[in-house]
Amino acid sequence: MQRSFLLYFFISFIGIFFIGRLFQLQILKGIDFDPVHNAAVKIEYDYPERGYIYDRNGRLLVANQLSYDVMVQPNQVKSIDTIELCKLLKINKEDFIKRFQKAENYATYLPSVFLKQLAKDDFAFLQEKLHKFSGFYIQKRVIRDYPLNAAANVLGYIGEVNEEKVRTNDDYEQGELEGKEGVEREYEKILRGRKGKKYYNRNRFNKVTGSYKNGQMDTLPESGKDLTLTIDIELQIYAQQLMNGKRGGIVAIEPSSGEILALVTSPSYDPNMLVGRDRSKNSLILMDAKNPEKPTYDRALLAAYPPGSPFKMMNALVGLQENAINTETSFRCYGGYRYGGKASDFMRCHCGIYDSPIALKTAIARSCNSYFSNTYKKIIEKKSKANESLDIWNKHVTSFGLGSYLGYDLPSGSPGLIPDGAYYDSRYKYRWSASTTISNAIGQGEILTTPIQLANFTAAIANKGYFYTPHIVKKIARKPINNPNYTIKKQTTIKREYFEPVIEAMHEVFKTGTGRWSQVKGIEICGKTGTSENFIRINGYKQQLPDHSILVAFAPKENPKIALAVFVENGGFGSTIAAPITSLMIEKYLNRYISEENKLRESNMLNLSLQNIYNYYRPKNREVASRKE
């Protein structure tokens, strides 16, 4: 074979291949295949208004206001009077050059934002003069307006769409806004609507010569739909006030529907901070990773705390269902529970009933650790192998939505942790028993839950065995939602009859038990206090922080209207902070006012600040403390 054939072959092959490709591009596809990116077609956008957001009673939470951006398309900028333009825009020359270079770096042939959110007076003046400066023009934009300073964590905020999305999604152009957090992000498609597009032919002088293809491809804008939230904004604001000076989260749910009445994280921020010219400055402060208050961190959804004593109800329910105990079963308490041979293997108990039989009702009312340790031991020792029993226990617990993301319609969340047999098998190499994991009996140890999970758990008890997935949107465009995820009830694995004694006991808590100082006249509250130990690890030292104050409750006892979970970080006993906050919220929601006799409780809670404690335990001080040890 002659060796020159190889190159001849390559030449003809590539030649034919390339001409084939040209045929495909130029003859088969032709000019019309993509007007969006065709430079000879100009597109004008018609932006619809973003949907409004209301609370469950129709109070307006989020509206719109206009804002004006100066845009620039660098390749259309011809010789201009820079100094005059600088004066008009009220910026200096260096700033001008910097901004212009930034726009050029992005792309010379695409428009980009030159100056954001002009003041209204500047706009009127500028609009008259701007035609002199080719390449510069004003883009009207709709930004958000918040009439109330509330529920920033629920509403979220909108911000400029990121570059990745601009590149990959043709619905978004550079400089447009999209929902970044909360409801704004979750319901972006519904709130945003769809912008209208008008296609025009343009000639090489960038003049419009008529509509493209007689307007066949033009679309009308589709306006964004309004949302009605399940939030009761009065309750939300009241809860935010109660949490002043404290860190933590409150979630209130309507048990009969799963609607979230209030979702509070503290500290939070004013949603108006993320609107307008100071936005970037404020967002730096809010999102600063070093800020220990983490105001954008939604504790109600994200913070996984040990649930503490409220988890005892879970163990009571599992015990009843698995026949480990019945309502008459009694255990004796000797100031604590001994789970091992060593002197330190002793869990103390504060129920105050020494050496006399305690049954379920008293055990919950007085929060007896020994009773639930015995119960837990019985549950775990039911089967011959501990991991099998724990898997059954885990199945019951997770049927309440604990240990999972729950599936609510907000974009952030945390699954918490509910351990199963495999978890301890790998951790303790198969050598573990009920005693090893005895902390689970009282909601300590490995178990972690978020406030919304615990509120949902309480709602399931209030409903005697079922719950609706919590959700935040009640109506879309004034029509009730029909997403089956939120309208079909989820059944737990515990039989209805076993809830009765537990609810009775929870009622007892507020009558005679740990919550008795927080009663409200005329309202039958059922609840459970909690005090959860928490630790932090610094330089390898495990250090204990003041306990979290926790309370779960629902009311009234018959036909419950509200179920809630309150977490106050490092607040001490559940009965001292979380309980009064809970009772105030219940009274506010059910009666719409706070009665005279409870005014003192209200002002105490409004004025209580835990800031001293938080300041003492700031990272810097903690390091000092651990070194001293």
Binding site: L6, Y8, I11, S12, L22, Q26, A107, Y109, R167, R204
Partner: protein, 426 residues
């Protein structure tokens, strides 16, 4: 030996010169279209791109005369010297060069810059011709192969270091030359197979390819064993195991190199080209706009100076690397096909002429010229029509830029000189 005539134009292949003039002229018209602004056109305004390019083109004539002036023996005799000077110029870049667009590839003389890499190609071709044309030289010996590879890869490596990997890629063209002179085809087959495997690995994912390929090979091996037994295959177990192992290493190595050695912008280019990532605004913008510009030309094009996408400056670098998109828009399918045909005919003509050389030196050099042009045209047009990833190399004779135009002119006219002389080479 007959005496060479004094007339330097005697024996010149005018067909090749004709191709050259047509391509340069048509190229300039397209540069004019791509770089003009709307107000007026003054072709002697040397501040404009097209004015400058016209100057470079006019300066080509003295260069041609100069190249043709020397006796063809001169090029053969001094090939090594030229090569050393070329290498030296590439080394000098590092202390003295000027950085443009992130690559230190230019010598700057006042307002003018020169890119030595564009000239080194011609001198490397001379050096290869000189080396391989030696009577003692036998390409089937590994030792000699290594010598040839050194001559090829020394400039290529220096260019990669600038860094301008696109221009360095062109040196692979010399494998076609070596193949013509007796280098086994295995290198090219191996290279092509590796590239295919590399791309399919990226496209379908490491594990899929691994499993598919292994099952395919296993089936083939089992079939061969079943059909012919050991004798037909003449295989040994360790060979099979080594090839299994080698392919496995290659596939997983590809994944590793792709994720860890390649930069994000390289990965993006691959992924956009393979359609794994939709991107019409940023990295994909160039190719997307150039495809769109070409498509808008239709069958006959919009006519000279009437391409509105070209005028709107929507395709970046349109007068240099993306000049072919102007041809596509203004001259349509007919015009752009004609350009491809012209290039291919020109290259075929060079090969044809080379084969008539009785002197080995001239033939090898001719092959070098043909291969370099072929690589350039394929990679550049392939990129512009969206078949190959973005590699910034010019289209010969077309693209704006003095260095590249002069480099290709010298490359071609040395061949024309050698070719004119072949009748006397008895």
């Amino acid at each position: 030996m007959r005496q060479e005539k004094n007339n330097i134009f005697a024996g010149i292949d005018w067909i090749l010169v004709f191709f050259y003039l047509i391509l340069v002229g048509f190229g300039w018209l397209n540069i004019l279209a791509a770089s003009q602004n709307d107000e007026y056109i003054d072709i002697f305004d040397f501040n404009t791109k097209y004015g400058k390019q016209l100057l470079w083109i006019l300066l080509c004539y003295p260069i041609m005369i100069f190249v043709l002036f020397f006796n063809s023996k001169f090029y053969e005799r001094f090939a090594s010297i030229f090569y050393l000077i070329a290498i030296f110029s590439l080394v000098l870049i590092f202390p003295l060069g000027k950085e443009i667009n992130g690559a230190k590839a230019w010598f700057s003389f006042g307002s003018m810059s020169l890119q030595p890499a564009e000239f080194v190609k011609a001198f490397t071709a001379l050096a290869i011709a000189k080396l391989v044309s030696d009577r003692q030289y036998n390409l089937s010996l590994i030792k000699n192969q290594i010598k040839a590879f050194t001559v090829i890869f020394l400039p290529a490596i220096l260019i990669v270091l600038q860094p301008d990997p696109g221009s360095a890629l062109i040196y692979l063209a010399f494998f076609l030359v070596l193949n013509r002179e007796g280098l086994t085809l295995n290198y090219i087959i191996f290279g092509a197979a590796s590239i295919t495997l590399f791309i399919s690995t990226i496209f379908w994912g490491t594990h899929t390819i691994f499993i598919c390929l292994f099952s395919l090979i296993t089936v083939i091996v089992l079939y061969l064993i079943y059909k012919g037994g050991k004798r037909l295959l003449r295989f040994s177990w360790h060979k099979i195991l080594i090839s299994y192992f080698g392919i496995g290493m290659f596939i997983y190595g590809t994944g590793f190199v792709y994720e860890n050695v390649f930069k994000q912008h390289h990965r993006d280019r691959f992924e956009v080209l393979l359609g794994l990532k939709v991107d019409t605004k940023d990295i994909g913008y160039n190719s997307y706009q150039s495809e769109l510009t070409i498509s808008s030309g239709g069958l006959t094009g919009k006519g000279f100076l009437n391409g509105d996408i070209t005028k709107g400056n929507f395709v970046p670098e349109q007068h240099t690397d993306y000049i072919f998109s102007t041809v596509g828009e203004e001259w349509g399918f007919l015009g752009s096909s004609l350009v491809i045909i012209l290039f291919m005919l020109m290259i075929a003509r060079i090969i044809y002429l080379s084969e008539t050389h009785t002197n080995k030196f001239g033939r090898i050099y001719g092959y070098g010229v043909a291969s370099i042009l072929f690589f350039h045209v394929t990679v550049n047009i392939g990129m512009v029509i969206g078949l190959l990833p973005t590699v910034g190399i010019p289209l010969p004779f077309f693209s704006y830029g003095g260095s590249s135009l002069w480099g290709f002119t010298i490359l071609l006219f040395i061949f024309i000189r050698l070719d004119a002389h072949k009748k006397y080479d008895w």
